[in-house]
Each structure stands twice: as C-alpha cells, then as structure tokens.
C-alpha cells in the first residue's frame, strides 16, 4: 500500500473534518465525538504509513504537488505539499503518538463536561500539525504553524475557569507570537528576494541550489549574507515554538492544560515543530557555511542557543516539585539538545532524537497523567510517594521512560539518539563548548529523573490522594504499554551499527554501519556520567526516602540558596515582568490615553458624519423625492386615477430621476471628455 503524493492532503484533511464534526456535536454526543476523532486519526495513520512506503521507495527524492492558490497582482501565489522521508517519518510519528494519546484521553477526561469540545480541539491540533509537516510552502507552513498555536492556546486554556490556566494560555500564545514575528519577517524577506515561497519546485524552489546561491551571494547589514539573516529570522519562530532560551518561559506554565495535552502538544509534537522547521529549511541554514568572511554563521547561533537551553532546562528541573513541571523543563532541555544537533551540522541526529523523544516523553507525561488522575489531581511530589505498589503498570512504564530519557545504555532509545548528538557535537570544529554543555546536561538529566522516580514511587504515601491511589483503567494503561515498547524498540532503528533511519533521512538507500567501538571513548564517558547522575540521585533521594510532605529537600538542605533560585526558575518570569512587561504596560497605557482622547473623538466624528449622511440620503430618497412628486401629482390623484396614492407618486418621481440622470451623464461625457 502506498500513497501517491497528490493525495497527501488527505492526511491533515481527515482530522480537520473530525474537528468540524466535533464542533457541531452537542455536548451529549461524547461517544460520537471520540469515535470520529480517533477514527479519523487512525485513518490518517494508515495513510501516513502509505506515504512512508512511497517515500522510502526513493528516499532521495522530494516528491511535490504544487498548485496555484490565487493570483496576486501579476504573480501567482502557489502552495503545495512535499513527500520525502522527513515528512513521512514525522507524519507517522504524529499520527501514531496522537492516536495513543487520543485513546488515553477518553479515559483521562471521562468525567469532564466538555468532553466533545476537547476532542474537537485535539483533532484541530492534529490537522494543523500534519498540515505543517506536509507543507511544501513556507506560507502554508506558517498558516498551519499559527493554527497549531491557536489549538495550543485553546487546549492549555481548556479549563479556563482556573485563572492559572487562562493566564498560561495567554502567556503561551503571546510568547510564541514574539518568535512568530521573526518567522513572518523572514518569510516576507524570502519572498521579496526569491519571488517564491515553495520549498521544492523543480529547480525554482527556495531550498534548491539556484535560489540558495543567489541568497548566499548577497550581503546585507553587518556583512551577513541574506541567507544568514533570513535563516536567523526563521530560527526566531523555532525559538518561540520550541521553548528555546530566552523564550522558554511559556512551556512550563503550559502544563496547566490537561495532561494528555501536555503529552501531545508540549512534549511530543508541537514543540518539536521548531526543530522540524529548522530541519526543513536546513539547506537555507547551511547556505552560508562555505563563506569565510561572514561574521557569524546561522548554525553557530543555533548551536549556542541549543547548548544554553539544554543546560538551563536541566538545571532548573532539579529544583522543581511539580511532576509535570519537572517533565516540562526536561522537555526544554531535550529540545535544546535537538537544536544543538542542528547547530553542529547533524540534522539527522536531531530528527532521530526528536522521534525517540516524542515516544518516551509522551510516555512519561501519560504515566504522570495516570499518577495524577489516580491521586485525585495531586501533582506535587512532596505529597505523593509509595505508588510503586498500587500502580504497577504505571510504575514500570514510567521507569522505562525515565531510563530512555536519562540515557541508560544499550536497551533504551534515548541512549542511542543522545549518543548521536554528542558524537556530532564532538565532531564540530568551531567550539567544544556545546559538547561540554551536553555532557553536563547528561549528568543533570539522570539526576533529576532519579529524584522524580524516587520521590513519587518509592517511600510511603504522604497525602490523601496517594494513599488511596489505584491503577488506572485499561484505556490509559494500554497506550502506556505500547509507548513503552516503542521507547525501547525505536532505538534500534538508528544505532551506529545499523543507522537505517539516518540513512533514509539523508536519502541514501545503502547503510554504512560501523563498529560501536569507534568513538567508544565518548560513549564510555557518557555512560559513566549517566551512572554518576543516577548514583547521586539515588544517594540523596532513594536511600532515605521522604517521610513527611513538609520535610526539607535533601539538596535544599545542602545548598539552600541555589536550590531556592532553581525552584524560582532563576527568576526569568520576574525579569521579564520587570522589563518587557513594564514596557508593554507603559505602551498600553499610552495607547489607551491616545485612544480615549484622540482617536475616539476622530472616530466618533466620522461615524456621526456617516450616520448623518445616511439619514440625509434616506430622507432625500424617500421623503423629499417622494414628497415632492406626491405634491406634483396631486392633481392627477384628485382626478381619481386607479393607482393608489403612493404608487403613482413614487413611480413618477423615480422616472423623472432617470431622465435627469440621463441628461447629466450626457453632459458629463460631452463636456468632461477632454475634447
């Protein structure tokens, strides 16, 4: 079974249809809404597999289907979709993980009154994300990008009656919009420079050599090549969407949404869109690499941002108490890893990590959701504990996810994909700093995940919710088991010995495996670091578990000042509130003043003028004209004509207007024609 590229649009269209049906379903139609959403996504999954088979038949090709959208002045705006291994792998991942999360949601939200609306939003999100993945035009990608942002806003604020959720939804939307402004500017600049926004168009696309050479050849402000400037602007969009430093602040707050949303959007798919975007426009990002004279290469910036984010996320995660926030900061950190891989020149390593991360992070979030649901919405790890016994499946799958994330060697997928990134960083000849950042983050990741597992699952229950926790229903545990299987199995598609996935992504059909001992030193070092992190975590939190909810954190007892800084997330939110927030408040106040006293008056004046003209017009039409002709035809009326009073008056008046207009028009042409 394979899917021709012309039919690729069906993949996003099916969830979109499901969203439409969901929107029209009344509240009572819970079963219908869930069935339609899950059925549509399952079909999309099958189609994605078909697309993958098509793409793998010739992995080097970018199959495209472009069409005219509309004419714009003398030019034509064209949209289209592209099928290559990158698109196909992403589509399969999104539909598969999405499907499991949809199924999980039927259990997680079983008691929510707005169940149907939730599935409508989920389907809308899936449609937008899949549209983003298949887009062959930066414009189409941008449209879907914004739709993804909208769906994310709706879902974070799904429990909008909670003020925190409403605020988090706004924060996520506004913060990512700051990055999107850069993306929009980059897009406009790109269109201005090349006259096209199609990625691949038989030689005329923006990612094809002709356009890239032209973009790299021209210089702009500061000696940057145009391709560098556009690449960096597009990267701004990725920074916002993928929660990179310094726009990472929205992602932890986004955890106010229901947990399946966190799993689908803020771990597995949407936040990966930024990484995907950079990978998609990778030819543009590397176009400036051969140039020696430019002050900075686009990818160097990407690597730096990625390294800082990887380290920052991991450090802050150590000081958090909320399960979902720990996972959120770990997501920030892992996304930093992916950006780092992109920056050091290995986009396949980034995509491999994106795919494995999607599975094990979705697993971790869903397992956390299972815990939260069982413990009556308690998600502070100080009030949990001892859940290993009552929740065996959840514990086992969470442990598998933890080991994959921490990079426990050989069996778990996270190990292989993280190794790929570290190797790529090792081979980067610009600076060794990203490698060091990555290695430090390895220790920290292992440490905070060990802390999380020890606090939540070991020891004794420290709260009402945890004491009465029971294992979740099968609709929730079965997706966990499937994801756990994937978190293990997926790694073997991309080991250095048999890098099948990497070869296909790069468009090669033959696979060059090499011995695991090549570069074994680095691997041994990272295994050692993982062991160090787990050991330290176990020594602090596992050997003597927390007994009371109010007990001081062992690490906080040793380094109280640093720990409280981490708990406060290094005051990024406060910093932004004091600077950007102030500035925006001030501007808003100024705009308000202008609005009230200057613009409002103008508008009122204009609207008054308009209304006045409208009334004059109507009165002229209906009273003056009619009235005048009524008087004029009074004699006729007295003569007892058969027509009623208003009819004759109106019609005569109307016809007289025709005659007058005719004369005026003739005069206009004769006199005004410039003879």
């Amino acid at each position: 079974m394979n899917l021709p590229v012309a039919q690729l649009w069906l993949i996003p269209a099916l969830p979109l249809l499901a969203a439409g049906i969901g929107a029209l379903t009344p509240r009572g139609g819970r079963r219908l809404a869930a069935t339609v959403a899950i059925g549509a996504l399952a079909l999309s999954f099958l189609l994605s597999v078909g697309a993958l088979i098509t793409a793998l038949a010739d992995p080097a090709a970018h199959l495209v289907h472009n069409f005219d959208w509309f004419e714009l002045g003398s030019g034509t705006l064209r949209l289209g979709w592209v099928l290559d291994p990158l698109t196909a792998f992403m589509a399969v991942m999104v539909t598969f993980v999405g499907l499991l999360i949809f199924i999980f949601s039927t259990g997680y939200l079983r008691a929510d009154a707005n169940f149907t609306r939730f599935f409508c939003f989920l389907s809308l999100f899936a449609a937008a994300m899949l549209g983003l993945v298949i887009a062959n035009s930066l414009l189409l990608l941008f449209i879907c990008w914004e739709l993804v942002g909208l769906a994310s806003y709706l879902l974070i604020g799904f429990w909008f009656h909670k003020p925190a959720a409403a605020a988090a939804a706004k924060k996520a939307f506004i913060t990512t919009r700051i990055g999107d402004l850069g993306l929009l500017l980059g897009m406009v600049w790109l269109y201005d420079s090349t006259g096209s926004l199609l990625f691949f168009d038989g030689g005329a696309g923006v990612l094809e050599p002709a356009a890239l050479d032209a973009l790299a050849a021209q210089a702009t402000i500061g000696g940057l090549a145009i391709s560098t400037a556009i690449g960096l602007l597009i990267f701004c969009g990725a920074v916002g969407k993928s929660g990179q430093f310094p726009l990472h602040v929205w992602l932890p707050d986004a955890m106010e949404g229901p947990t399946p949303v966190s799993a689908l959007i803020h771990a597995a798919t949407m936040v990966a869109a930024g990484v995907f975007l950079v990978a998609r426009v990778y030819p543009l990002m590397i176009a400036d690499q051969p140039l020696a004279h430019v002050p900075v290469h686009a990818l160097t910036v990407v690597a730096a941002v990625g390294a800082v984010t990887a380290l920052l996320g991991a450090v802050i995660a150590i000081g958090q108490y909320d399960i979902k926030r720990i996972l959120a900061f770990s997501t920030v950190s892992q996304l930093g890893y992916m950006m780092l891989a992109l920056g050091v020149g290995s986009w396949v390593a980034a995509i491999f990590h994106l795919l494995t991360h999607a599975f094990f992070k979705a697993l971790l979030f869903l397992a956390a959701g299972s815990v939260i649901d069982a413990a009556h919405h308690e998600q502070d790890l100080r009030h949990l504990g001892g859940l290993r016994g009552p929740m065996r499946i959840t514990f086992a799958t969470f442990a598998i996810g933890t080991m994959a994330l921490a990079g426990v060697p050989f069996l778990f997928s996270g190990f292989w994909s993280k190794e790929g990134i570290l190797h790529a960083a090792h081979g980067w000849d610009v600076s060794p700093l990203p490698l060091y950042a990555g290695l430090v983050a390895v220790v920290l990741t292992a440490f905070y995940m060990t802390r999380l597992v020890a606090e939540v699952f070991h020891g004794t229950a420290r709260g009402e919710g945890a004491a009465h926790a029971k294992e979740s229903p099968p609709t929730m545990t079965i997706p966990l088991l499937i994801l756990a299987g994937c978190a293990i199995a997926l790694g073997f598609l991309g080991t250095p010995a048999w890098p099948w996935l990497q070869a296909r992504l790069e468009g090669r059909t033959e696979i060059h495996g090499h011995s695991l001992l090549e570069g074994g030193g680095l691997m041994a070092l990272s295994i050692l670091l993982v062991a160090l992190g787990i050991g330290a975590g176990w020594a602090l939190y596992g050997r003597r578990t927390r007994t009371r909810a109010a007990a001081v954190d062992p690490l906080a007892a040793r380094i109280p000042r640093i720990f409280s800084a981490l708990t406060d997330r290094l005051w990024f939110d406060e910093l932004y509130a004091a600077t950007v927030g102030r500035l925006s408040d001030g501007t808003a106040r100024l705009a308000d003043l202008l609005d009230r006293h200057v613009w409002d008056g103008t508008i009122r004046f204009l609207s008054g003028l308009g209304l006045f003209a409208g009334f004059v017009n109507r009165d002229a039409d209906e009273d003056v004209l009619n009235g005048g002709f009524d008087a004029g035809s009074a004699g006729l009326r007295r003569g007892g004509q058969a027509y009623s009073r208003r009819q004759t008056g109106d019609a005569h008046g109307y016809l007289r207007v025709v005659a007058i207009s005719f004369v005026v028009l003739v005069m206009v042409i004769m006199l005004g024609g410039g003879q």
Binding site: R646, D650, L665, I669
Partner: protein
C-alpha cells in the same frame, strides 16, 4: 458567412432544455398535479425544474468554446461557459430552496417562469449581437416582472412588480433607442462590426447619446445609482425567492452581457481607462455610476431597518464594485468581475433563502425579526453567518477574494494615479462602513434574544437546509481556493 443550423442547435441546447423543462413542469402540474396537495405539487415542480437546469448545465459545459456561432449571433468561449454554468447554478439553488418554503398558489407556474427567466440569462451570456442581446434581456426581464408580482394576495408584491415593470419598461425603451442609434451610426448589429466601425469614426454627440442610453439600461439592470430607485421597493415587496433571482443570476448575466457589449462592441468608444483623458467615451460615465452606487448604497443601507431593503441597498453598493470590475476588465480580463458577481450571487441567494425560511415561519421584514435566530434555528443562524460575512468580504469566504480581485485589478491599471485607483480606495473605505450594517444583521441573529412572541423553533425544510449548507460550503471552498474559478479565464 456560413449558417449552420445543426451548430446553432448544438449551441442552444441549454436554452432548449430549459424551455422544454418549463413546458414539462406546466404539463405535469396541469394533468397529474391538479389532484395533489400543494406541498407535493411544489416538490414535483421544483424537482423537474432542477432536472431541466441540470440538463442545461450539462449541455452548457459540453458546448465547448468554439468561438462565434451562426454567423456571429452567439459566441461560445470560456466566459460563456462559465456564465451559463454560473447562472444555472444560481437558478438551480433558488429552485432547490422552494420546497417547503414557497407558500403561493400555482407553484408550477412560478417554477416555469423561473426557468424562462433562466433561459434569458443563459442567452444573455452567449449573445454577441444587439438583437439577440435585446431579446434575451427582455425575456429575462419580463419573467422577472412576473416573478416579482407573483404573490397576488399581497399589495406590496403587486406594487413591487408594477414599479419594477414601469422602470424596466423605460429602461428597455432607452436601450432600444440606444441600439437603433448605434445601428444607424455603424450600419450593423454585430458587436465586432460595430467595434470596427467605431475604430474609424470620430466621436459625435449622437454616439454619446447612444452610449448613455445604453448605459441607462445597464444601470437599471445592475441597480446602479441613480437608476437604482426601483430596487429597494422591488426587493421589499417581491417574494424572497424572486428577489434572490433578481439579485443573483440576473445580475451575473447582466454584467457579463454588458461586459461583452461595452468592451467587444463599444470598446473603441471607451476613452482612456488609465486617465479618462482623450476622446470622450463611456468610461467616465461608468465611473460616476460606480462611485455614486458605492456611496449611496453603503450610506443608505446604514439607516435601514427592513432587512430586505437593507440587502437592496447593499446590492446597489455591490453593483458599484462590480462596475469597477467592468472598467478594469480591459487589462485584467473578465475573471475578477465574474468571480465577484458569481460569489456575490451565491451569498445573496443564501441570505434570501434564510429570509424565505424565516418568512415562511412567521414573517421576516424588520431586522429585528431575525432576533434570537440562533436559538430558533442554529442551522439558519450558522448559514446566515457565512452569507453575511461573505457579503461583507471577510476572509476566508469568497466575498473577500471577489473584492480583493476586483480592487487589485483596478489598482493594477494605474496605481493610485488614476480615477480607477481612487474609486478602489473609496470602495475599500466604504467596505469598512458596510461591515457595520452587515454586523447589525448578525448581531440580531446571533446575540439579541428573541421577543417573547417569537421564541418558537423554526422547522427548516430538509431541501432548504441542505441547499443552504451547500451554498455556505461553496462560499468557503471558493474562498479558500479562488483559483478554482479564476483559472477558467487564464489565457
């Protein structure tokens, strides 16, 4: 000149299907229908009418684009094909909205008259000769007068028909006089020959008089100010389905006919499209009509409280924009004009369809009669949202791209340096004004609660419901992918 009758028959198959269909509708109703209930009679008549329209559309698409037919009497090109299909679609939708909504005696005659009017429209789309054009126009107009006055039990309907008829009669007289002057000046009734003759003649006062006479008739047909005066009364008094047809298919066919007549036949007498300087021509007069229609239509609509009169004034405003499309057609081709007229027609048929359904359920005259529609019938309110937003030109609905295409075409000619550019800017500004009165309708339908006397739910007839949803989807589809229509005209 070879006259091939088989070729003529082939070209006129759509019209033949329509006439035949009308006769069958009448015959069936007179024989079998007599004993049936009114509901079944209207359903049968509408179904047969729809069949005839479908046949005609099939023939219209199959007629091909072979150029002039029968010695230049008719022309078959992409514009003919698109316009015929367009008017047939609009008439078909009007017919599909009838069952369960039309509450008039003699439904079969109503349907047959619609089919006769449609015959006139399709013939207008293909006419390339003064006499055929006049005959087609009159066939359409006379049918429409009848349709406007069909509700014989209501005084308003009779008044609407009489006013429409009087006005139309005068317009027809102007048109015929103008045509005879043109014939006298050029010695031909063929558009192409007239154009050739006008190339060599210099402008005389007589020609100017002839041009303006034709223009008056055009203004009447298009409801352009100051020849719009019949429109508010006719829209208000006529049965809603008749008003829908007058506002949609009739406008589309009228604009296409006059596009052909003015550019293909009277093109040499246009004057300069970019500056309006040089020899006197009809362009300045059309520009006056366009500006006056936009100003008057939009401003007068602000003060209306009757929803049908409001739609009438909005139709006058849209006519102004369409005239802009006519003027810009020399450079941009008929694509933008056709797209605007067709999608405007769709939205109007939809809006009048909603009004007709509400009307059948207890009257719909004032805007406030729509209050609480969202509770009384969510389907109608949802569809109305699509139609009104499309009329207002909100993306991604088709109305936005219609406006966009026409304004872009106008601005392409000479930017802001010429009168066309100023008119385009005026139109854009007035679109903001228009948004106000469109939102007033939507506010009543979606926000304001119903008056206590009118809280009963509206039972939407199935055929009408399906048709309205179809129109809404069609507006969305053509709005998302305007090139579906626009590429028909790409040379």
């Amino acid at each position: 000149m070879t006259l091939s009758f088989p070729q003529l028959l082939h070209a006129l198959l759509p019209e033949a299907s329509l006439v035949l269909g009308a006769l069958i509708v009448l015959a069936v109703d007179l024989t079998i229908g007599r004993t049936q209930s009114p509901v079944r009679r209207i359903r049968a008549a509408a179904t047969l009418g729809l069949l005839a329209v479908t046949m005609a559309a099939w023939h219209a698409i199959n007629a091909g684009a072979e150029g002039s037919v029968f010695g230049g009497v008719l022309v078959l090109d992409s514009l003919t094909m698109a316009t015929r299909t367009g008017v047939l679609l609009l008439s078909g939708l009007t017919l599909a909205l009838l069952p369960g909504v039309l509450r008039l005696p003699h439904p079969a005659e109503y349907v047959a008259t619609i089919l006769f009017a449609t015959t006139g429209f399709t013939l207008m789309a293909a006419a390339q000769q003064l006499l055929v054009a006049f005959a087609a126009l009159e066939l359409a107009s006379l049918s429409l007068y009848v349709l406007a006055g069909f509700d014989k039990t209501r005084r308003e309907s009779a008044e609407a028909a009489l006013k429409y008829f009087l006005f139309g009669g005068i317009a027809a007289a102007f048109l015929l006089f103008g045509f005879s002057l043109l014939y006298g000046l050029t010695g031909s009734i063929d558009f192409m020959v007239i154009a050739e003759q006008l190339q060599v003649q210099r402008a005389t006062p007589l020609l100017v008089v002839a041009l303006v006479m034709v223009l008056v008739a055009f203004g009447f047909k298009a409801a352009a100010a100051p020849f719009h005066l019949w429109a508010p009364d006719a829209y208000q008094g006529a049965p809603p389905s008749s008003a829908a047809l007058i506002a949609s298919a009739s406008k589309l066919a009228g604009f296409v006919l006059f596009l052909r007549l003015f550019w293909h036949g009277l093109g040499p007498a246009a004057g300069s499209v970019s500056t309006f300087q040089g020899a006197p021509g009809w362009l300045p007069a059309v520009a006056i009509l366009a500006g006056a229609s936009m100003l008057l239509g939009n401003l007068a609509a602000l003060a209306q409280w009757n929803v049908r009169r409001l739609l009438a004034y909005s139709a006058i405003a849209h006519a102004g924009s369409l005239l802009l499309g006519v003027m810009a057609a020399r450079v941009s081709g008929p694509g933008p004009l056709f797209y605007y007229a067709a999608t405007y027609g769709l939205a109007t048929v939809g809006a009048f369809g909603v009004i007709a359904v509400v009307d059948a359920a207890g009257g719909c005259h004032k805007i406030s009669d729509l209050a609480g529609l969202q509770r009384r019938s969510p389907l109608l309110a949802g569809c109305l949202l699509f139609f009104i937003l499309s009329l207002a030109g909100i993306p991604p609905l088709a109305g936005f791209f219609g406006k966009f295409a026409v304004f872009a075409a106008a601005l392409r000619i000479n930017g802001l340096a010429g009168p066309l550019g100023w008119l385009a800017i005026l139109a854009i500004l007035l679109s903001a004004v228009a948004l106000y009165y469109y939102l007033v309708i939507l506010k009543q339908a979606l926000v304001t609660p119903a008056e206590p006397a009118q809280t009963r739910r509206i039972a939407v007839p199935r055929a009408a419901g399906v048709t309205l949803v179809l129109i809404a989807l069609f507006l969305l589809l053509t709005g998302l992918f305007p090139s579906l229509i626009l590429r028909l005209f790409r040379s």
